[in-house]
């Protein structure tokens, strides 16, 4: 940096420190106002935020979810411990649950389906003709004979036996859909769980899965999440206190983190955003950034005091002036990297991105300005607040760094880093988009939710649904034999995939009706020969039932219908394969009167999310790197700088991706923001070290001395931040939410690699390659500092 710029920054901070009372009062005032706003922020999950905007699958889901069942379906399994379900105790509970569900918050009362609902019915021939009547509505069977009759009806009805009653007759399913408008999910979850508790017992086990339940569990653990958050912050304070041994070294970083958080949350509220509970880890990551910046400033302040600057104000000024460039660079680059996430057209990610950008930018005030200003109040004399001194340990580590850089070991370090980069880079290709394991990756495998999901998927065809709409060109298209037989073949084709447990559509119902019409002869279990015959069959099925009971399969004028596929899991691989197979089938078997539209239901929506993330991950990573390269190039007026700073970023990314692939953490809507933030995070520490080297070169031309000095100065700040943050991040490991534990490990890994590359790899790089923008060249030598400025 030129001396003139140095001067301007110095003057600015001199001004700020002169009116420090005013500055602090202004910050306090804004914090107070923002604090009020922040306290009003809602912590909740909005389902529609998870859906990618403008994606064709989502459009299909939104258009048809009312009729064919959306992505908020909850499945409740009622399982008899002994014997089968055909007794008054079990079926009575099914009936009670079916009725009680209507009262639950946010339930779509038209989409409650169980043995005891009016919608599950059978077609039977009687003396008066063919009639269609509910299987077990409104009354339960009364005698053993009636129970036996019900059992026989169930066994003979493929729409029930399989989808709603398990193969071994020991379990039955109640499915219910939720509206995704503005509803109180916590209340819905509590009401659901109360119903489940009530139904359990007396030899009956009740299990429940579905997205609203999953996010209910996440909210359920919100209290714990916040506890861990505060425990982690408390751990930070203790560690800072232990390492820095000063009040200012303990309090100011915390203050920076808090002010940033309050401003960011307040701003989020002003922008009309809410906070998703799963994003708390991201919040912690940004708080870590704020703390890191503040610690650097304080370490520099202590250094200046140690070098004998007279007043605290002068030391604070010197610290702010000298660290201004790397801090600015770190903050702007980070903010840019976070902002890139907003390009992914998923509202949740965009909101996180905007909040995150604002949050990172607030560090400009909370750390860059507030920390030096506050420091000016603290005495110039070092007073330790406790006798434990771990400084020698830190110095030994930094000594090791210097020893490695100044000896031939540096080649070993560079070689090892190169090997690690190549190996992890290749392994990182195993990273999966979408969920990498069955069950929900948000919760631990042995959590109640995941155990319930495993049980339900064992007993039934699969609890995760996808519907493919068969959209006719004109009303009545679904009566055409060609369309219906195409649907049958489509279902058969899709069911060849092992993860597809089954499927159901209008084309399954009509053959049943036709068989009944033909005295129950299975040789006539087939679709009608003509559209008129199919129309009659449809009429038989709906006759005597409510309008709308057929809606799950086809609309009233037989224009649009759905094939519902049941999936045993929603791993990224499963969904991708299924979607590709739908496309293959549709491409190879076009039909004249209708077309297949992808795709609704949970699996359809997840397919959209995964496609967007798959398409967006390269974009997000490449553009984030570009932001970084541009920032560095502009700051150092050197294109080499941009390339140079990519090295630690690439290394920390490949290693983290490898870890994700190894640990089975998929790239999904919950992990993507952390990953994108990590890109910016990987480079901050290196900025401080490299800037330290440059600064030292202003004073003497000896590169080796400059590197050693930089390691002892800013290097100490890096070491302190990394140690405290990594240690406190470990607390996330105890979260009941697996996602947060995983992300905690990920962040710790990121911080460790960043610190390691900043302390070991990058100094060695500087030593070996001597990039011009750091050490200067004969043509453009480093400007020797004006001694009055260097202080």
């Amino acid at each position: 940096m030129k001396n003139t710029t140095f001067g301007k920054v110095d003057q600015a901070f001199a001004f700020l420190i002169r009116f420090r009372a005013l500055v602090v009062a202004a910050v306090a005032l804004v914090t107070l106002a923002m604090g009020y706003q922040a306290s009003q922020i809602e912590v909740k999950t909005i389902f529609s935020d998870l859906l990618p905007r403008d994606h064709p699958y989502v459009a299909v889901n939104q258009r048809f979810k009312q009729t064919f069942g959306g992505s908020n379906m909850v499945s409740i399994m009622i399982e008899a411990r002994d014997g089968d379900i055909f007794n008054p105790a079990v079926l009575g509970k099914v009936q009670k649950l079916t009725v009680d569900l209507q009262q639950v918050e946010g339930v779509d009362t038209y989409q409650i389906i169980s043995l005891a609902s009016k919608k599950i019915k059978e077609v039977r021939a009687s003396t008066e003709g063919v009639e269609s009547r509910p299987l077990m509505w409104p009354e339960l069977p009364r005698s053993a004979a009636e129970f036996a009759a019900l059992k026989a009806s169930v066994l003979n009805n493929p729409l029930v036996y399989g989808p709603y009653v398990s193969a071994d007759l020991k379990a039955t399913l109640v499915t219910v859909d939720f509206n995704d408008g503005n509803m109180d999910y916590t209340r819905a979850f509590n009401e659901l769980m109360a119903l489940v508790e009530e139904a359990s017992g007396d030899g009956v086990e009740v299990r429940i899965v579905g997205e609203p339940v999953l996010y209910g569990w996440v909210n359920h653990y919100l209290h714990e999440t916040l506890m861990i958050f505060f425990a982690a912050v408390a751990a930070l304070v203790v560690l800072l206190c232990l390492i820095t041994r000063t009040w200012h070294g303990t309090i100011l970083p915390l203050l920076a983190g808090m002010v940033s958080a309050i401003w960011a949350l307040g701003a989020a509220r002003l922008m009309g955003f809410h906070l998703d509970p799963l994003v708390v880890v991201v919040a912690f990551l940004i708080t870590a950034q704020a703390i890191s910046n503040s610690v650097q400033l304080i370490a520099r302040f202590d250094d200046e005091i140690g070098h004998g600057i007279a007043s605290a104000a002068a030391a604070a000024r010197a610290s702010a002036r000298n660290l201004f460039k790397p801090s600015m660079l770190a903050i702007v680059a980070d903010a840019g990297c976070v902002l890139v996430v907003a390009l992914t057209p998923i509202p949740l990610l965009q909101k996180i991105s905007f909040i995150g950008t604002v949050w990172v930018l607030t560090i400009l005030v909370s750390a860059l300005i507030l920390t030096p200003v506050m420091l000016s109040w603290f005495g110039a004399r070092q007073r330790f607040i406790h006798p434990i001194d771990i400084n020698p340990v830190l110095m030994r580590i930094l000594g090791l760094c210097s020893a490695i850089v100044t000896t031939r070991w540096r080649y070993a370090v560079l070689g090892a880093a190169g090997v690690a980069f190549v190996v992890s880079g290749l392994y990182a290709f195993n990273l999966k988009v979408g969920d990498a394991n069955p069950g929900s990756p948000i919760l631990w495998p042995d959590s109640r939710y995941n155990r319930d999901a495993a049980e339900i998927n064992r007993q039934f065809q699969g609890s995760d649904r996808m519907f493919v709409v068969v959209a006719g060109n004109q009303p009545g298209a679904l009566r055409e034999p060609e369309v219906l037989s195409s649907m049958t073949r489509f279902q058969k084709y899709m069911e060849a995939q092992p993860e597809v447990g089954g499927s159901i559509s209008l084309a399954d119902i009509l053959p049943q009706v036709k068989r009944v019409l033909r005295e129950g002869n299975p040789m006539y279990q087939e679709l009608g020969q003509t559209s008129d015959e199919n129309g009659e069959l449809m009429y038989m099925f709906v006759s005597g039932s409510d309008p709308g009971d057929m809606d799950r399969y086809a609309d009233a004028d037989a224009k649009n219908g759905a094939v519902t596929l049941f999936f045993r899991d929603h791993q990224g691989e499963t969904i991708r394969t299924a979607i590709a197979r739908v496309r293959d089938y549709v491409e190879q078997h076009p039909i004249k009167d209708a077309q297949y539209l992808l795709a609704g239901g949970l699996v359809g929506v997840l397919a959209a999310v995964n496609e967007v993330i798959l398409a967006g991950q390269i974009e997000a990573i490449a553009l984030a790197l570009l932001v970084l390269v541009v920032c560095c190039t502009v700051t150092y007026r050197s294109t080499v700088a941009g390339v140079f700073f990519m090295i630690p970023v690439l290394l920390s990314n490949t290693i983290t991706f490898s870890y994700m692939a190894w640990a089975g953490i998929g790239m999904n809507i919950n992990t993507l923001p952390v990953v994108a933030l990590g890109i910016g995070l990987g480079v901050d520490y290196t900025f401080y070290i490299v800037d330290g080297i440059r600064e030292n070169l202003h004073r003497s031309r000896n590169v080796e001395h400059a590197i050693v000095n930089a390691l002892m100065g800013p290097g100490k700040g890096v070491l302190i931040t990394a140690m405290t943050l990594i240690t406190s991040v470990v607390l996330w490991h105890f979260s009941s939410l697996r996602l947060q534990a995983d992300m905690g490990v990920l962040i710790a890994l990121w911080l460790f690699i960043s610190a390691f590359s900043a302390l070991f790899i990058m100094p060695a790089m500087v030593y070996v390659f001597r990039p011009e923008f750091i050490v200067g060249s004969k043509r453009r030598p480093i400007v020797q500092a004006d001694l009055t400025m260097a202080g």
């Binding site: 003979n156 193969a167 049958t488 279902q491 069911e495 129950g520 390269i618 790197l625 080499v640």
Partner: protein
């Protein structure tokens, strides 16, 4: 030492200078290109459909010898086993119609019939199935069953279809005129033959099918299947547990009192006893006199319907809502790993 390093450093600096002129432009350009244009392509795993799919139902089986078994069913599905039902291989039938009947002369020659008048024939163990034409008709011509009588083949179906082929299924001629009644089954012992169908209809022939005469039956319930153990003794089964027995070559039939209300779809003479299968897993057996019937299930807990049964060696092959092998009382359903 230091000087040497400096020299080396100088060289490295040269490399860096060279890089600085080109590499950054390349990298920035590459990143921009990747960010804007490169879209990751998902690698999709290939799914090979199993020979027997979950959705398949089978209407008929044929077991020409103790190892070879053919089964035919919905959507033109034909599968063949050459290890007595342990493993099955799908065969290309070149039709999407539901196949209702299948019959085989030997392990190479077979034919199958089904909806829309479809008749397909193979002479090479099913490696290729070729379509055979039947006499034209304006009716749907749904064919239910195909049977072999010596060198002749007989197919029966809707609208009074009784078709005969004398050239191993290549050409077919209509034997009886069309009428609005379905024939469900046909069987021969030497030149004597019997035909059963809707509304209790029953006909018999004594001259190899050249002339047929109607026989009165005790009721009007549709008869689904007929079998004879010799030219005199036979059993016909039908809907709602209907069971008729004759001891005079089919001239007169007595009804056995119904012991089940379920439909019976197939009956066979099994060396020393009668065997009938039907709806909801029911299976009935009787001694040679066919008077005392034992009602049971194919297997405990099995509720599948069955329209065809064949035996090879010790094993029974059952076609119905699934394809199953019954070996010494143990039922195994082919192709269903789950459920």
């Amino acid at each position: 030492m230091l000087r040497r390093l400096r020299k080396y450093g100088g060289g490295a600096r040269g490399v860096v200078t060279l890089m600085s002129s080109s590499a950054p432009v390349v990298i920035v350009g590459g990143l921009l290109y990747a960010g804007l244009f490169v879209k990751a392509e998902a690698v999709v795993q290939k799914v090979e459909p199993p020979p027997i799919e979950r959705r398949d139902t089978f209407y008929a089986v044929a077991a020409p010898d103790s190892r070879v078994v053919w089964a035919a069913g919905t959507g033109g599905k034909i599968v063949r086993s050459e290890d007595a039902g342990q493993s099955w291989v799908r065969q290309a039938s070149n039709t999407e119609a539901n196949l209702q009947g299948i019959a085989a002369w030997d392990s190479d020659n077979a034919m199958a019939v089904g909806n829309d008048g479809v008749v397909i024939v193979t002479a090479d163990a099913g490696h290729s199935w070729t379509r055979a034409e039947i006499p034209p008709s304006t009716n749907p011509n749904k064919l239910f069953r195909v049977r072999i009588a010596g060198e002749a083949a007989w197919a029966v179906g809707e609208f009074g279809a009784v078709l005969r082929s004398t050239d191993r299924g290549a050409n077919w001629s209509r034997v009886l005129p069309e009428e609005d009644r379905a024939w469900n089954d046909i069987t021969f012992v030497g030149d004597a033959g019997w035909l059963v169908g809707e509304f209790g209809a029953l006909m018999r022939t004594a001259d190899g099918g050249a002339t047929w005469e109607s026989v009165a039956t005790p009721n009007e319930v549709s008869l689904m299947s007929v079998a004879f153990r010799d030219a005199e003794h036979g059993v016909a089964v039908g809907l709602a547990g209907t069971l008729l027995v004759t001891e005079d070559g089919g001239a007169s039939w007595q009804q056995v009192p119904a012991f089940t209300r379920e439909h019976l779809y197939a009956v066979m003479w099994d060396e020393d006893h009668w065997l009938a299968v039907g709806d909801k897993g029911e299976m009935a057996t009787a001694q040679a006199d066919a008077q005392q019937w034992q009602l049971g299930r194919v297997a405990e807990g099995d509720v599948s319907w069955r329209t065809g049964v064949a035996r090879a060696g010790t094993r029974y092959f059952l076609a119905g809502s699934n394809l199953a092998v019954l070996d010494n009382g143990t039922l195994s359903v082919a192709g269903h790993k789950r459920m």
